[in-house]
């Protein structure tokens, strides 16, 4: 049995036949291996989701284009959204959480290792089921019977009358299954953080990554389940003759929207809070200072978690709610800007007065800070209901949320990859390829998503497979599409870096970044048992205390 979590042995001379290695990976319950499985799975689906996006952008490169039919286009935007959210971003974040949380709190594994594996495989099969829809029905180029109802699957578009066949069912069941996997992960993270911390690690000494993943897990438990409930109701409608969303029988289309967005808004915080966690771990190390305002960061994250459950109907400002309801949701939406802004200021405060090292993880974090700031501000615009009555349902919203997810979350994820890859594999990623990746992403991202705000302002709705010429949208769409190709190249360079560095990267050692949390105390990759002896900690930065015994953090906390 190998003592390295990631050692992949070849058959023959090294001894183990590949079948046995495969069997080990498929039956693993080790949090590190499951973390890697989640991450690799997500990367594969990132490429698939990226192809779906590229197909859409080629279709929209000029008006009245016929690169794909309207039916295929509609399947593309549905699958792109669903895949990216549920089978790329969520799995990759769960992967990092699984890998890092036990190490950072001084534990040997997650609280429920078998539940962990169960959760992964549910998610994995959900994604496979969803993509199986491409090869059913009219086959891949007609995009099979992939769902085409948008990733929100609004009723009554999903009723049998408007979605005959099984395309909606692929969406419903794939997400129901992977949703249960996510709930399993949520349970595991919370139980791990509450029950398995090493001695001395009070909650107030826990790394922010552990705190933030705990808040994320709480949100998963409370808000992923409304989507599951709505999906069960949809299945009752479609297969048992129920009327939950049957407007002909007096049912309400709006209630689907409420249930969906009660899930859907907190979902985006489930996506972004772990990204905050990465930034909160990386920026201090590369600024050579502790995080500014640790207690405030914790409080702000918890506040964001709570407030996020009260803002959902800002996605529904145009559906005709009365003025009092609209006003309420404007208030809660504006309120959530306060703790979010506080976090940006705290990251700024961390950098201030530091000695910033501009290695690739930090470059991506700096990108995150500027871009997340901008995205938050367009969010404030959208939070003002009357302004939203113009902007919602248009390309302005599409630009806004891609700014958050790509400019914010994906950049933070890239930072996390460059920072923790050495720990996971024992080798450094190439810094020059990393910088090339970063600059290409900057160029491509801004070309696409800065410009994309403008067609929205000029009246271009979203989810349209083509558009009329002469409305001022033509050149803008062309530029947006060009940026997509540049981003694609950037991501491919990243993937090349991941693969190349695995074999040829510089050996990392335990602690290549001179960092301060527990995962850097063990070898790279860590042994399967993580810690030979479970450590006892006395401050938030146990390795700082060891490296600076004359000036330990414990004196100041």
């Amino acid at each position: 049995m190998s003592s390295d979590a990631l050692a992949i042995e070849t058959a023959g001379a090294a001894g183990k036949p590949w079948v046995e290695t495969l069997h080990e990976w498929v039956t693993t319950v080790d949090h590190k291996r499951l973390g890697i499985l989640y991450i690799v799975y997500a990367l594969v689906f990132l490429l698939i989701g990226g192809i779906e996006a590229t197909i859409m952008r080629i279709q929209l490169i000029r008006p009245h284009n016929d690169f794909v039919s309207p039916q295929v286009f509609n399947r593309m935007f549905t699958m792109h959204g669903t895949t990216m959210i549920f089978f790329v971003v969520m799995p990759v974040l769960f992967g990092f959480a699984n890998y890092l949380v036990p190490l950072m709190i001084g534990a040997r594994d997650m609280a429920f290792p078998r539940l962990n594996a169960f959760g992964f495989w549910l998610t994995a099969f959900g994604g496979l089921l969803l993509n199986l829809s491409f090869v059913s029905g009219s086959g891949l180029y007609g995009a099979g019977t992939a769902p085409d109802v948008g990733w929100w699957a609004y009723a009554p578009l999903t009723a049998h009358a408007f979605s005959p066949g099984h395309s909606s069912d692929y969406w419903t069941i794939a997400l129901l299954v992977s949703g249960f996997g996510s709930i399993a992960t949520g349970i595991n993270i919370i139980a791990t953080v509450l029950s398995l911390r090493c001695p001395g690690m009070k909650l107030s000494r826990m790394p922010l990554l552990a705190w933030m993943n705990m808040v994320m897990a709480g949100l998963v438990l409370i808000t992923l389940t409304p989507l599951s409930a709505a999906q069960i109701m949809l299945l009752v409608d479609r297969y048992l003759g129920g009327h939950f969303f049957d407007t002909q029988a007096g049912g309400s289309a709006a209630i689907w929207m409420h249930f969906f967005w009660i899930f859907g808004h907190p979902e985006v915080y489930i996506l972004v809070i772990p990204a905050f966690a990465f930034v909160s771990e990386i920026v201090p190390v590369f600024s050579r200072k502790p995080i500014f305002g640790y207690p405030v960061m914790v409080a702000a994250t918890v506040c964001i978690g709570f407030i996020s459950m009260s803002v959902w109907a800002h996605h529904m400002f145009s559906i005709g709610m009365n003025s009092k309801a609209n006003t309420f949701f404007v208030l809660t939406t504006a309120a959530i800007a306060v703790p979010t802004g506080i976090k940006i200021f705290n990251w700024l405060g961390t950098m201030w007065g530091g000695k910033i090292i501009f290695k690739t993880p930090m470059l991506f974090c700096i990108g995150f800070l500027f871009q997340f700031l901008f995205a938050g501000l367009t969010g404030i615009m959208l939070g003002s209901a009357p302004f939203d009555w113009q902007l919602t349902g248009s390309y302005f919203v599409v630009a806004h949320f891609h700014y958050v997810i790509v400019g914010g979350i994906l950049f933070a994820l890239f930072a996390a990859f460059y920072y923790w890859y050495p720990k996971i594999t024992g080798r450094m990623l190439s810094e020059s390829l990393g910088k090339l990746h970063f600059w290409l992403m900057i160029i491509g991202f801004h070309l696409t998503f800065d410009v994309m705000h403008i067609p929205g302002i000029l009246g271009m709705p979203r989810r349209i497979y083509t558009y009329e010429p002469g409305r001022g949208w033509d050149t803008l769409n062309l530029i947006v599409t060009l940026g997509t190709f540049i981003q694609g190249i950037a991501v491919l360079i990243f993937v090349v870096n991941l693969i190349f560095s695995y074999f040829k990267g510089r050996l990392a050692g335990n602690d290549p970044w001179d960092a301060w949390t527990l995962e850097w105390a063990v070898s790279s990759p860590p042994p399967v048992y993580n810690f030979a002896v479970i450590p006892t900690v006395e401050s938030r930065r146990p390795l700082w205390d060891l490296k600076h015994p004359e000036d330990p953090d414990s004196r100041y906390e």
Binding site: A111, F112, L115, I183, G186, I187, N188, I190, A191, T192, L194, S195, L196, R197, P199, G200, A217, G218, L221, I222, T223, L224, T225, P226, S228, A229, A230, I232, M233, V236, D237, L240, G241, G242, H243, F244, A249, G250, G251, S252, I255, F259, I262, G509, N510, D511, P512, D514, L518, W520, A521, S523, F531, V533, P535, T536, P542, L543, L546, K547
Partner: protein
């Protein structure tokens, strides 16, 4: 960077963390509560909105006896757990069995009521909004009762085989938490369907 080894420091006195089983079950209960809340909201929202067909007032009969059965089963499982903690295996098994019987009676009562509603009043899940929301909500709860009974029976079988003792009382306590949750949900469902909804 030189390797840092974590020093061997004595464990601080009194370092104890909650039992992970209880934390995990509490999390599951939170998640399940969220699902039930959505079904309850749908039920309440659609009250009075059916375009046709039987109304709650016309067809529902308050299941008092079977509710008492289910709620008593919470009492019996509580004492069963306590007996197990104190090593009284006989009392544990007896009370545990009684819990299962009471739960089974509740399920029987639900089945009986559904039979009456379907065959005497023609109310099915597809009849109208009331039918859809009623069967979904009560059915979702019933499904959780069935799962609970299966788990309880597995523990009973292990218990009869002599493998359940005080060392397992923490795990049995976790299952008992689940059962209490199922009963608490019934209190809510009962209030919403049979009291508020008529």
């Amino acid at each position: 960077m030189s390797a840092i080894t974590t020093p061997i420091v004595p464990t601080p006195a009194g370092w104890s963390l909650p039992y992970k089983g209880k934390v995990g079950m509490a999390c599951l209960i939170i998640a399940e509560s969220s699902i039930f809340t959505i079904f309850v909201v749908a039920y309440l929202f659609y009250l009075g909105k059916s375009l046709s067909g039987p109304t709650p007032r016309e067809v529902l009969e308050t299941p008092i006896f079977f509710t008492i059965c289910l709620l008593s089963s919470s009492v019996t499982i509580h004492f069963a757990s306590r007996s197990l903690e104190h090593g009284k295996r006989g009392a544990f098994l007896g009370l545990w069995l009684l819990t299962i019987v009471l739960g089974g009676l509740f399920l029987f009562g639900t089945g009986q009521e559904w039979h009456r509603l379907i065959y005497e009043h023609g109310l099915t899940i597809s009849t109208n909004l009331f039918g859809t929301t009623y069967y979904s909500l009560v059915g979702l709860h019933g499904t959780h009762v069935i799962v609970g009974l299966i788990l309880l029976t597995i523990v009973l079988l292990f218990g009869l085989a002599g493998r359940v003792g005080p060392e397992q009382s923490a795990r049995v306590g976790v299952l008992s938490m689940y059962w209490h949750f199922v009963d608490a949900v019934w209190v809510v469902v009962f209030t919403v369907v049979y009291i508020l909804g008529r």
